[in-house]
Symmetry: C2
Subunit: 340 residues, 2 copies
Amino acid sequence: MNEGKARQVVLAARPQGKPKLTDFRLEETEVPTPSSGQVLLLVRYLSLDPYMRLMMDDRESYTKPVLLDGVMPGEAVATVIVSKHSGYVEGDIVLARTGWRTHALSDGAGLRKLDSGKAPVTTALGVLGMPGFTAYSGLRLIGKPQPGETVVVAAASGPVGSLVGQLAKMAGSRAVGIAGGPEKCAFVKNELRFDAAIDHRSADFPARLAAACPNGIDVYFENVGGDIWQAVLPLLNPFARVPVCGLIAHYNGAGPGNGADRLPETMRHILTKRLTLRGFINYDFAEHHAEFLREVGAGIAEGCIRYREDIVDGLEKAPEAFIGMLEGRNFGKLIVRVNA
Amino acid sequence: MNEGKARQVVLAARPQGKPKLTDFRLEETEVPTPSSGQVLLLVRYLSLDPYMRLMMDDRESYTKPVLLDGVMPGEAVATVIVSKHSGYVEGDIVLARTGWRTHALSDGAGLRKLDSGKAPVTTALGVLGMPGFTAYSGLRLIGKPQPGETVVVAAASGPVGSLVGQLAKMAGSRAVGIAGGPEKCAFVKNELRFDAAIDHRSADFPARLAAACPNGIDVYFENVGGDIWQAVLPLLNPFARVPVCGLIAHYNGAGPGNGADRLPETMRHILTKRLTLRGFINYDFAEHHAEFLREVGAGIAEGCIRYREDIVDGLEKAPEAFIGMLEGRNFGKLIVRVNA
């Protein structure tokens, strides 16, 4: 398909607040030709993740911003269709940082071969990929949930939150998920088997959250920020741990707010409750990656770890799907099927 | 002196913002009579510390608030003047939580005998007391400064900050102190031998702080909050550690602010720089107290750890001195000499 032509999505304009479709541009290019030592990759599944929003702004976050007219960054499952690299043959399936495009060259740096017999290849973008490892490393190495403690996570039907809660249950903790809308909450409670699921769109959300956490909160896995943080803060127990892996509510700008500076209240809780807040990125914990793949891979094989994917067809749909994800419209790990 | 009568300072009204003299009341009472198993203490030196401000508000902080008309809490150096307790004799000098008063009874719980031959007894309220142990435990056990790293602390001429910087130097780090006014800055630089001292009252304070930290900040020992935190935040390096032991700038209320919510910016730095913020109280680390006394006691005896005390005469001066401390008017550890 698309013989002879490749396509890519570039950053056309830096978003002012929420990204718009016109901040992206779909371009047609020539399919590149691999040199000696390179492979040509056909992208099959592209991962869309909240961190990409941070990279669209003109300020440093984890890394340099995406350049204007530069290809949007991202990780994908791809097939080697031409190999001039001794380590790869045609048909190899790999995990690669291709960006939002149909074809990409690689010299093999950063590629990881995938075994489609072990688990569906799309899991390498979700529960067995970066989001899963984010959940695993943040919960295990920062959150450290103990038996009988209460762990709360937002975006609980998403790829990070869903694993956080399931790992918390495996550690003997009470898992409380926050999600948007009754359908997602039912999934979190019934399919993922959290102890409770609270709809953050409900009018009395703070009171419901408090009722679901009768013994307070010992670990809050922070991936959202904003109003959910304000509801969590008074419920945190002394010595609670807060791994901070994302702040999706802030990525489109903080908005006008209500005129109040909420920093002093947060700092006061940190002080008097002796909280630990710690930001992290999954790759800070690379030395634990093999044990993550082993443990979570086994959990999936045995059916005791569940996950959900939300697959959108066509690279041209990536901008719309990405914008929707920032508003919580996806249901499960958002993936673009670029080539079947 | 004051034969037959005791005096105490009680909380007359809960402060609205900054405490006023009328929020306190000096009362005369009878000197209490010890029962069997008790000692009568004559308070000699009373410690005034910022945490007391938190306890004046009608909400829980570390502990329950002070009751209205209740004696203001605090630690003191006292002499046993009557003993009906087998463990104490008249003349024993002890560290005790007497509160703001001239006389107090004790059954011995929580008393610690002091050896005036080892160090001046007032040091048990400062460099060898709670403030010193706060500096020691927060820096060593949370901040963990490494050789070549940069450690920043505010209120650097005070009892906590002065030890933080000196311990940072002993760990091979660069120590940068923040203090109010040229006299305190000169003391921090010349007497305490920090690498740099920056006056937070200078108009270009953020730029001066940045210039004093050419390699960024690896440990910020937070005891102030407010505008100083805003100046520190952009200078923090990836993986910086922020022990939070106090927020004196917030204790009198946050003020109207400038209408901006500063929480998203702080959370964004925590996330993208993988910061660790951790609140603590010195007694969380009680198992390290003996090594603190040994190490810092030796440093004082050898003259390589220096400290400064600001001694005010008379219990009746305690409210005014306390109010002044919250505005940075003291210079060194603030102590009230209650009885010579």
